[in-house]
């Protein structure tokens, strides 16, 4: 079979072979070219891929993670609630990881007793460490067997003592809480933060939205308060309160040109670190929330209003100073200072009778307009939520009302109203709203003009005279050119009518310094100071409130840029000859 198979012709075979070989080569060449091209494409794609990857990476690094410091580190440092600082950057309120005391009944395992000792022993030991805690309440919580806070804020020393009890169930988780490094300082200005993180009272409440705004967490809010001046004011008020057994006290330092509140104190105070204790009477702000008849401190307003209206043109004109009967009431003076008094003597001796006469001459309408211009008919202009509404006599003022308002009765305002009024009296006559925010002097509120500059200058002389020769002598801090007016007003009954207790008085001293170019108004007020040895048996402002100002001014003056100078003073030479010596209230 194989033999019969025709053999291929060689030539044919060669030609075929050469043809197929060429074809094969051609195919091979083509295929190789294709492969090469393909590989080239792959290489190009590979390079492109890597180039792209590298480029994307570079772009990512260059653009995406441009500033890692602002991201992670910034977030890590931003507190959950922004800080509050004083005008010099001293932190007054900040977020702080403080210890709290947590009872974990499962710390020793779910079986068996949660405590090593008996609950009674533990509760007793805890009460020894925290005397303000209630034994029965603690015992009930320890026996309940539920995880609970025993105390929200524990000091490190207290935590050590609790740790020494050797109870694993008592734990101290560190929680970021609001902390007030200065303790009770400016508590009424700051307020506090409750357990839910909401601001209560003071600037914590007013600024709640701003302080929790995520965009501004790391930016502290600067208040106008100067913690050193605040400390001095609180310290001196507390000292005087102790001496005179007063129920309370209030103090204000106000910048007369910007309306910034440099210090605002209300005593007794509370510790904002103990928000559980803050819910008591001490949270009442006597400086901005409580209204008082501030007595004789209003007389300069009456005189200024009378000078402004042209009722008083000559300081030498004498007015009768004998008891005055009006509508069945008799207006008395503290003492008799002679048959007649002129305006400087009226202020120096603080004569109710002459002040009433001048108010009468001025007329109810004009006095009322002045009081309205000084903002005495509305809540004080300040950011604090606690703002008392004045007891403002509505409608037209009858003659007797005009006369009583003329010497500071029948109109009850807060000490802050008084401070704002005095700022307008001495700063050239401009009333400005008070503020607790730091103000750039160039952008201070324009305010409104209440008195002419000449009236203000005359009042400055008169106020200085009161401190040099009159009832405010104990406020005369040497070199600080203090001027001011005392005021001692009997406290009205709770229903606002009648003065039942003659010994319950509000003693106020409203001052400004330095009187040649006033910078600050200082108000010191004592609520029901008692007469005792320390006040030479007196309870009038000359003996208790004025000395507070006399001690506060030298302490705060240099800190606030007022340098004492014994060779400078207000020129009162035109008024001095008009004054006979004497005392008054």
């Amino acid at each position: 079979m194989n033999a019969t198979r025709p053999q291929p012709v060689l030539s044919n075979a060669i030609s075929t072979a050469s043809a197929t070989g060429r074809l094969h080569f051609a195919n091979l060449r083509q295929r190789s070219l294709l492969t090469a091209k393909l590989r080239l494409v792959w290489v190009v794609v590979g390079f492109a891929f890597f180039a792209l990857t590298a480029f994307v990476r570079i772009a990512q690094l260059g653009l995406g993670a441009q500033n890692p410091a602002e991201g992670a580190a910034g977030d890590g440092l931003a507190p959950p609630r922004a800080e509050i600082t004083d005008r010099n950057g001293v932190p007054l309120a900040r977020a702080f990881p403080a210890y709290s005391l947590w009872f974990d009944p499962k710390a020793l395992g779910s079986k068996g007793l949660p405590l090593v000792k008996t609950p009674e022993e533990v509760a007793r030991a805890l009460v020894q460490i925290f005397p303000s805690e209630d034994y029965d309440d603690l015992l009930a919580r320890l026996k309940a067997g539920k995880g609970t806070y025993l105390r929200r804020r524990v000091l490190p020393e207290e935590a050590n003592k609790v740790f020494a009890l050797g109870e694993p169930a008592l734990e101290f988780p560190r929680e970021i809480q609001r902390f007030y490094p200065q303790g009770t300082l400016a508590a009424h200005v700051l307020g506090f933060v409750d357990a839910d993180g909401k601001g209560k009272l003071g600037m914590e409440a007013y600024l709640n939205a701003r302080l929790t705004d995520k965009a501004h967490l790391s930016e502290p809010v600067a208040l106008s308060i100067d913690s050193r001046a605040q400390g001095a004011m609180e310290d001196e008020l507390a000292h005087e309160m102790l001496l005179t057994h007063a129920k309370g006290a209030a103090g204000i330092v106000l910048d007369v040109d910007t309306g910034e509140v440099i210090a605002l104190a209300s005593l007794p105070s509370f510790d904002p670190n103990r928000s559980d204790l803050a819910d008591n009477d001490h949270v009442k702000n006597r400086a901005t929330n409580e209204v008082y008849e501030l007595g004789s401190t209003f007389k300069p307003f009456t005189i200024a209003s009378a000078i402004e209206a042209g009722v008083v043109t000559d300081m030498a004109v004498r007015y009768p100073a004998t008891p005055l009967k009006v509508d069945g009431y008799t207006i008395h003076d503290h003492e008799s200072y002679g048959a007649t008094l002129n305006v400087p003597e009226t202020l120096i001796h603080s004569s109710n009778i002459v002040a009433a006469e001048i108010a009468d001459k001025l007329g109810g309408q004009r006095l009322r307009d002045t009081m309205i211009a000084l903002g005495m008919n509305q809540r004080a202009n300040i950011e604090l939520p606690a703002k008392g509404f004045p007891i403002w006599p509505r409608g037209d003022w009858p003659r007797l009302r005009t006369m009583t308002v003329g010497f500071g009765h029948g109109l009850a305002v807060t000490p802050l109203h008084l401070a704002q009024g005095y700022a307008a009296l001495v700063n050239g006559g401009i009333w400005r709203p008070a503020t607790l925010f730091k103000v750039d002097p160039a952008h201070a509120s324009a305010g409104r003009r209440v008195f002419q500059a000449s009236t203000s200058a005359r009042i400055r002389q008169l106020l200085r005279l009161i401190v040099v020769d009159g009832t405010g002598r104990s406020a005369n801090a040497p070199g600080y050119r203090v001027g001011g007016k005392t005021g001692t007003a009997e406290k009205a009954g709770s229903n606002g009518s009648g003065y039942k207790n003659k010994h319950a008085v509000i003693a106020t001293f409203a001052a400004a310094f330095p009187m040649d170019k006033p910078r600050y108004v200082v108000i010191a007020m004592l609520d029901e100071p008692q007469a005792n040895q320390s006040t030479s048996g007196q309870r009038t402002a000359a003996w208790n409130a004025a000395p507070v100002v006399g001690r506060v001014v030298p302490r705060i003056g240099p800190l606030l840029g007022v340098v004492p100078d014994g060779r400078r003073d207000v020129d009162v030479s035109d008024l001095t000859p008009l004054v006979a010596n004497g005392e008054g209230e």
Binding site: A69, A73, G183, D235
Partner: protein, 273 residues
């Protein structure tokens, strides 16, 4: 052969690709390493800042107004400065100087009176014990070092019986300037040494002021500090005499070369020469 070359070339391309990939990876790793370092640093910064905040808060709490007041009441008893303690200007300060009276103390002599002693005293102290070069010579912009050289040369030249440069030139003003400069140098050196004490006392005062919670501020307040340091001023005035004595003492040390450090310095200085 052709295939091998092609293959080699493609292998080369692949190798290049692999190298590139490796480089990209290395880059990525390095970037990540650096990034984690940055994160670590950030975490550390956060931790440190928080630590600072804790400490600051603790300090603020322990040194709050009430606490300072309590300390002041018990320990220090500082009171606010009175108006008499403030001065307006230098003129007022000068008014405190007393006119010369018959039984007044002798006028104060300044420390630069004895030039040779000062000159000798200056040299060892001005040479760095490490380099043996004058301390001012490191930077050429310190011409103050030059008088020191002159001053240093002077005794050496004198001791060798040679005329000093100033002698040779015979220009009195130059010599005067030289010695004046030397005196100035010595004074400034002394001044550098002395005010440390003064500064410390001032700091102490300033701290005291702060502790009393009545830190003075403003321009005049600075004068207040000056007034409060009036005793120390007096001290520094009478201290000028002390400074003179001090110079002598220093000169003694310089001559005796008692300190091993100074010996070394002198040795080095000679070697350099």
């Amino acid at each position: 052969m052709f295939m091998t070359a092609r293959r080699l070339r493609s292998m080369g391309w692949i190798a290049t690709l692999v190298v590139c990939a490796a480089l990209v990876m290395v880059l990525a790793f390095r970037v990540n390493a650096l990034r984690s370092q940055v994160h670590q640093s950030q975490a550390r910064i956060i931790a440190l800042r928080q630590e600072t905040m804790y400490l600051e808060t603790e300090f603020e709490t322990r040194a709050n107004q009430q606490q300072l007041k309590a300390w002041n009441d018990v320990e220090f008893g500082y009171v606010a400065p009175t108006s008499a303690q403030y001065l307006d200007n230098e003129r007022q300060l000068a008014a405190y100087a007393k006119p010369i009276e018959p039984d007044a103390p002798a006028p104060i002599r300044v420390a630069s009176a004895d030039d040779s002693v000062v000159a000798a005293a200056v040299f060892p102290a001005m040479v760095s014990p490490m380099t043996g070069k004058p301390t001012g010579a490191a930077d050429n912009s310190a011409p103050a070092a030059r008088p020191t050289h002159e001053a240093a040369d002077a005794p050496a030249a004198r001791s060798a019986g040679l005329a000093t440069l100033s002698d040779r030139l015979g220009t009195v003003p130059h010599a005067a300037t030289g010695t004046h400069k030397v005196g100035k140098d010595a004074k400034s050196k002394l001044a550098k040494a002395k005010p440390v004490k003064d500064k410390a006392s001032k700091d102490k005062l300033a701290k005291g002021d702060k502790a009393s919670g009545d830190k003075a501020s403003g321009d005049k307040a600075r004068h207040a500090v000056a007034t409060r340091t009036v005793p120390s001023h007096d001290r520094s005035a009478s201290g000028a005499r002390l400074a003179g004595a001090d110079t002598h003492r220093r000169a003694g040390v310089g001559h005796a070369s008692g300190s091993p450090l100074i010996k070394l310095a002198l040795k080095d200085a000679k070697t350099v020469k």
